[in-house]
Symmetry: C2
Subunit: 305 residues, 2 copies
């Protein structure tokens, strides 16, 4: 499972229908977040994403609308009995932010919050995937993230394994994992019964940014690109000034990178009730695009399934 | 107008239907808040209370569920162009909290936030009313508040004023305000045409507390008592330990004080979907009781209207 749930899809000003930025990713039961705007904990309850298996929060930048859900969330997890540490990753200033967290009221957290500073190219190894920091372009220190799954083993040729005399059972699993095995004194090589390894899935999340090179390169053939789509194309000058992207700009980058699916988020409050201008701009350039909505979930499939 | 809107009515753990504690009071267009839990700004949008006329926030104590809506709210008001200062009142530690506020991210507020420490008996003079700090009993430093309107002038005896030869017009207003006036060389005394002054309205808000003496005394004949009603009576021992009140305890205090209406709030997550146990406990003791719900509004009338 690789399920992306949009907890908050609004811009700097939330609206009654759009919370500030927060995205939950559930990968085979492990939860990680990208940004955590105010109200994220209640959105988790509404979307039934769960909360206690959250291992990490990856912050793109320290604007209020991307971080203010953290104090309440950690307090609630502590009330619920959490003892596992939580790691907050982010650009410069993440250590200071985590220090402030514990000073913000009468907190007595029952678990540890670790701060981990990241900059362009830094890689966090997770169980079966990595999260890589990308350089984005916003008006404060900012990074984006690529979630890159490890390659999967190639397909197992069960018929050939049987023909080679491998008994059905645990040896199949060893061969599939890449180990050679012995059967009746003969060596059966993994590569004879397992096809070429297949790529895992890739999700790119930009946070707030102008369209930029690092995101474009990381997005090549990505399964899902979640891009800043704050404004319609007619507001291009405003987007440049505020260091955001227009829907058309994000779509152009998605097309150039050959991503499978594009989701626009960080939707300006001016489009809260009607995203038609954004959709029109994006669809003109890239067909497989969705304008994110709060509590929307997207399952990311393997390309060959 | 004296309109009370409940923005958040949940306990320490918010639920999908109940935000953390936050109450908005609109008195003739001026807005003040009592507590400001996470998500308050979006609740204001949903309840259409307005936001920019907010002059003051009165914090009962610095537990997370009573304060975490402030950082996002002030950020949004700044984005919207607010330049008027905002005063945050609260018990000891309010100055430190306000300092932390401005350190919590890349904030550039366009208006000033003033901190004002209050303790039992302190009075804040507002335009036409006062807010008085009450001593409450919680497990951290805490206070409650009484909103006490100034007395209103007595009824104006228009018929008698005409009989005394006062011409209809501005002199009526002067007399009603308490000024004596001259008509054809005669002095007309205000007290001859204006009845006894009538009391204004009173609202008591406890925040989190055990039932206590100061709240009881301040609540005498109050128009509206908003009391901690976290738990049902069967959880009395738990309420004592966590320094909250049961519904029955709050109702008993309301009856003893002779309040006109009781609202229970800070509802434990265990009753989020069904408040029947709380309602049963309270109704058995005090008839005019409401269990608060998010986005509920109550207009507080004058007793003689």
């Amino acid at each position: 499972m690789l399920l992306v749930t949009f907890l908050g899809t609004g811009g700097s000003l939330p609206t009654k229908n759009r919370n500030p930025s927060a995205i939950m990713v559930n990968r085979d039961g492990e939860l990680i977040m990208f940004d955590c705007g105010e109200g994220a904990q209640q959105q988790m309850m509404r979307a039934k994403t769960g909360m206690m298996n959250l291992s990490s929060i990856f912050i793109t930048h320290f604007h209020a609308d991307h971080i203010l859900g953290i104090p309440g969330l950690v307090q609630t997890m502590s009330f619920q009995g959490r003892t596992e540490p939580l790691t907050i990753y982010g650009p410069e200033w993440v250590e200071e932010f985590v220090k402030l967290l514990s000073a913000l009221g009468y907190y007595k957290l029952k678990f540890e919050i670790r701060a981990a500073k990241m900059e362009r190219g830094d890689v966090v190894r997770m169980d079966g995937y990595s999260v890589v920091a990308l350089q984005t372009q916003h008006n404060v220190r900012s990074i984006g993230y690529a979630l890159v799954e490890d390659p999967r083993p190639g397909r197992f040729d069960r018929k050939k394994a049987v023909e080679l005399g491998v008994p059905v059972g645990p040896l199949f699993s060893k061969l599939h994992k890449g180990e050679d095995v012995e059967v009746d004194g003969r060596t059966i090589r993994s590569e004879d019964v397992v096809g070429e390894s297949r790529p895992g899935r890739t999700i790119i999340y930009t946070g707030d940014t102008r369209p930029c090179k690092d995101v474009l390169e990381a997005s090549e053939n990505a399964d899902l690109l979640i891009h800043d789509g704050t404004l319609a194309d007619e507001k291009l000058e405003w987007a440049k000034e505020a260091m955001h992207s227009t829907a058309g700009e994000a779509a152009a980058l998605a097309r150039k990178a050959g991503v499978k699916k594009l989701v626009l988020t960080h939707i300006s409050s001016r489009y809260s009730d009607d995203v038609t201008p954004l959709m029109n701009d994006a669809k003109a350039i890239f067909e497989d695009v969705i304008i994110a909505e709060d509590l929307m979930s997207i399952e990311v499939p393997f390309r060959d399934e």
